[in-house]
């Protein structure tokens, strides 16, 4: 009977479909707060930042890595401070603690590079956090693919 078949198919496929939707939603949670929400006026390209670092004796910004420790431990921008993954409560807390005593006019450069730019879970929350703390001179390093490809592999300064 077509009706029975339809009902059987629905009963068989519905749990799989619901599971698939749940998985997709769960995965999209990681993509929800996108780096694309950061205004373009705040973004700096790796080549420009590297040039600035080469030119000046002291870095023009305090550089904060707001990604994961497993990445920072391997390589990071020379002089960068580990400030924790801003997608996680502990990470945000470390970021707040790191900058809490700094003047709100302090020039800061945020970067992560754990994932492709549009999928980075950390950079937008870090930006939002510093905005909410009224830091007025925050810039963000726009890393298109990842830190390895767009910074380290280009021979830019790492430690």
């Amino acid at each position: 009977m077509p009706t029975q078949n339809t009902r059987r198919n629905f009963l068989l496929h519905a749990p799989v479909a619901l599971g698939a939707i749940a998985l997709a939603l769960d995965t999209s949670r990681l993509l929800a707060e996108s780096a694309t929400t950061i205004p373009s006026s705040a973004l700096l390209e790796p080549g420009f930042v590297n040039a600035q670092l080469q030119r000046s004796h002291a870095a023009p910004w305090k550089i904060l890595q707001v990604g994961f420790h497993s990445m920072f431990d391997q390589k990071h921008i020379r002089g960068a401070i580990y400030a924790g993954p801003a997608s996680q409560p502990d990470g945000l807390a470390l970021l707040r603690q790191t900058v809490s005593s700094w003047p709100r006019t302090q020039a800061i450069l945020l970067y992560c590079g754990c994932c492709p730019w549009t999928h980075c879970p950390n950079i937008a929350p870090a930006w939002d956090q510093l905005q909410s703390m009224h830091f007025s001179a925050v810039k963000v390093l726009r890393i298109e693919n990842n830190f390895g490809a767009d910074w380290a592999a280009k021979g830019y300064p790492v430690a």
Partner: protein, 182 residues
Amino acid sequence: MREPAQSGRRNLLHALTAGVFLCACPSTFARTSSIAVHSSAPDFTRPSITNHAPVHLRAFRGKVVLLNFWASWCGPCLAEIPQLVIWQNRYRDQGLQILGISMDDSSRAALEWVHKLSINYPVVMSDPRLSLLYGGILGLPVSFLVDRAGVVQRRYDGSIADSHTEQELVRLLRESSAKPWA
């Protein structure tokens, strides 16, 4: 004969994977790097995050091994894992062994996704030493395709759940010579 329901389920999974990937994969991924390619895959032993049993890379000698570095915080990583699960099922009997290496700072989050995604291959935690052995993992996902002789044939920076990677994998599986690992 495959059951229609089974086929439907599989098609749905394929569609989901393809759909997620159409959204998740920018075309700008750098796909290659010369680091560690055409040299012996560095050996390591790490405990499985599911049962703590030691996982030795050398134990997979004679198989084609796909090492997949991933993390729970990496959207594109999570999006490609369902395809890896399919490949592990599809090519297990032909000698494919996928091994997940989590870059999470702790195993708890990784373990959660192992269950959520029904990962059907061993997963271990990375550490800076292991990452450096493989040329540095400074962005995710990163995968290595290792042939039956234990030689790294490809490093992929970016997502791999596509037909091109599957073709490369199948090509290696067809190479039947199982030379001992160096």
